[in-house]
């Protein structure tokens, strides 16, 4: 354990070029996936809270259940879609970071949708009538409600990011763990474990956890600044 911590510190302070590339790819893939999932999922989640229609209850249950989507299954499905023998093969996305973003966005979207729906429900129940009396349509109420649910959305964002940065099952299938192209923190940890270099694998794991803490801290800092400009 101490040996692993020493390796982790050595890698960080040695500014290892391979490590930097891996860290940058991990962050850009997972952040892109979460932003993509948020851009689609937050309005959708809010709509799910605001509109009432027949299958609404069922949909909410389904999205909550899909929060536990198995990454390997998503990876396999995206692989078959993007494969040259599959329907989207012509895009040439397989074994690229784009494929990894796609897979992670699919994994993260249900989390963002379900948590946003819950976050928006409270202000909707409290102020919904007032918003509608003021003449706003439900559609116009959505951005207002989203703006009121900052803390809940932050939770949705961070839960989604945590899921994306930590998973390996999907990206190792659609990315292929290619050195210098699609190797991320988690796939590198799998590789080093396979090689039996357990201290290095554990050291990388420690760096990954530190990264997650840093992203979470940044998000809280931004959110607080947003709340008190």
């Amino acid at each position: 354990m101490a040996h692993a911590a020493g390796i982790a510190l050595g890698l960080i302070f040695g500014l290892d070029a391979d490590l930097l590339r891996i860290v940058r790819l991990s962050l850009s893939v997972s952040l892109s996936a979460v932003f993509l999932a948020s851009a689609l999922g937050m309005p959708l989640g809010a709509a799910l809270a605001v509109y009432s229609f027949r299958c609404r209850g069922t949909l909410i249950i389904v999205f909550n259940a899909l929060m536990g989507l198995p990454p390997v299954v998503v990876g396999l499905a995206v692989y078959l879609l993007l494969s040259h023998s599959g329907p989207l093969g012509a895009l040439g996305l397989l074994f690229t970071p784009g494929a990894m973003v796609t897979a992670q966005a699919i994994l993260v979207a249900p989390i963002v949708i379900a948590l946003t729906q819950r976050a928006v429900s409270d202000p909707w129940n409290a102020y919904g009538d007032a918003l509608l009396v003021d003449g706003a349509s439900r559609l116009r109420a959505i951005p207002v409600l989203l703006a009121m649910s900052g803390a809940g959305l932050l939770t949705a964002f961070l839960a989604g990011f945590g899921r994306a940065i930590a998973e390996v099952g999907a990206i190792i299938i659609v990315g292929g763990n290619i050195a210098g192209v699609t190797r991320t923190m988690t796939t590198a940890i799998v590789l080093e474990t396979s090689k039996g270099d357990l201290p290095l694998a554990l050291g990388l794991g420690m760096i990954l956890i530190a990264l997650s803490i840093a992203v979470s801290a940044c998000a809280f800092y931004l959110a607080r600044r947003g709340a008190h400009p």
């Binding site: 952040l31 993509l36 040259h84 959305l153 090689k195």
Partner: protein, 274 residues
């Protein structure tokens, strides 16, 4: 909040989309964990890329999966080690121009206590029989890789029907060579490994080589171009350049020059002109 999120989204997409575009020519090679994890590719590929400007992207999986990636047209070249499956891959029209590149061998590794008393033996079938007779723990890859298929053939040679074996001493790990070795090290079990992965493996604990040198442990690697007539997206010219380089005197010398702790891992044996 929403506007800030959208701004960040645009930035993040730019950050990922940027470097993916301006790429130099590259090929994708589906290969085995043994060639990647032994460090051979890290030693070999920079020389090829420096000479030709073609980058090689290696997806390292088991031989069975590598061939299926090739069947779907998701790579340009496959570089694997299961001759029977490779010949079938070519016969089925998925690949063309198979060339043999190099060989090494499999080794039977096991714990120092060696409860089945195999150390120093040279007859692999006898060793497998002894393991089964002693019901000593054995970890199998169980992942349809080249090593896994070789192991299954060796059980057959020893006259043991591994599917019918009960008793729990035969463990099917369903994973790559490294995780299988990790598992064998943790439970003091026997396992069959390719020598390349074994030499580069760091977590040996009490494991050591017990049986080696049997002719049946020979492990041939071959390289095949994915058939561009079946999959027009295959970069045939670039892929062929890679194959030609591997079997050229220069490529063969680079393979022979790769050592770990002074021990050579792979032995070039490309047939001239093949």
């Amino acid at each position: 909040m929403t506007r800030r999120i959208l701004c960040l989204l645009a930035l993040a997409l730019l950050a990922t989309a940027g470097p993916a575009r301006a790429d130099s020519p590259f090929i994708t090679v589906a290969s085995t964990t043994s060639t990647e994890q032994s460090g051979l590719f890290a030693h070999l590929l920079p020389a090829f890329t420096a000479k030709t400007g073609i980058a090689v992207r290696v997806v390292a999986v088991g031989t069975g999966q590598a061939l299926r990636i090739g069947e779907r047209g998701d790579c340009d070249v496959v570089f694997v080690h299961d001759k029977a499956a490779e010949l079938k891959f070519v016969a089925d029209g998925f690949g063309i121009g198979r060339r043999e590149v190099m060989y090494n061998d499999f080794v039977l590794v096991g714990p120092k206590i060696d409860s089945a008393k195999l150390a120093g033996g040279r007859d692999i079938a006898a060793a497998f029989s002894a393991i089964a007779a002693a019901k000593a723990p054995f970890v199998s890859r169980g992942d349809d890789s080249g090593t896994d298929r070789a192991e299954k053939r060796l059980w057959q040679a020893a006259g043991i029907d591994i599917k019918a074996v009960g008793g729990g001493w035969y463990r099917d790990a369903g994973s790559g060579m490294g995780p299988t070795l990790n598992m064998a090290a943790a439970m003091d079990a026997y396992t069959l490994s390719d020598r390349g992965t074994w030499l580069s493996f760091r977590n040996r604990r009490d494991l050591e080589i017990l049986v080696e040198g049997d002719k049946r442990l020979f492990n041939q690697y071959g390289v095949i171009l994915v058939n561009p007539q079946k999959h027009p997206n295959v970069k045939a010219a670039l892929g062929r350049a890679f194959i030609d380089w591997l079997v050229s005197p220069e490529g063969q010398q680079r393979i022979a020059a790769y050592t770990i702790d002074g021990e050579q891992l792979f032995f070039p044996n490309a047939s001239p002109g093949g």
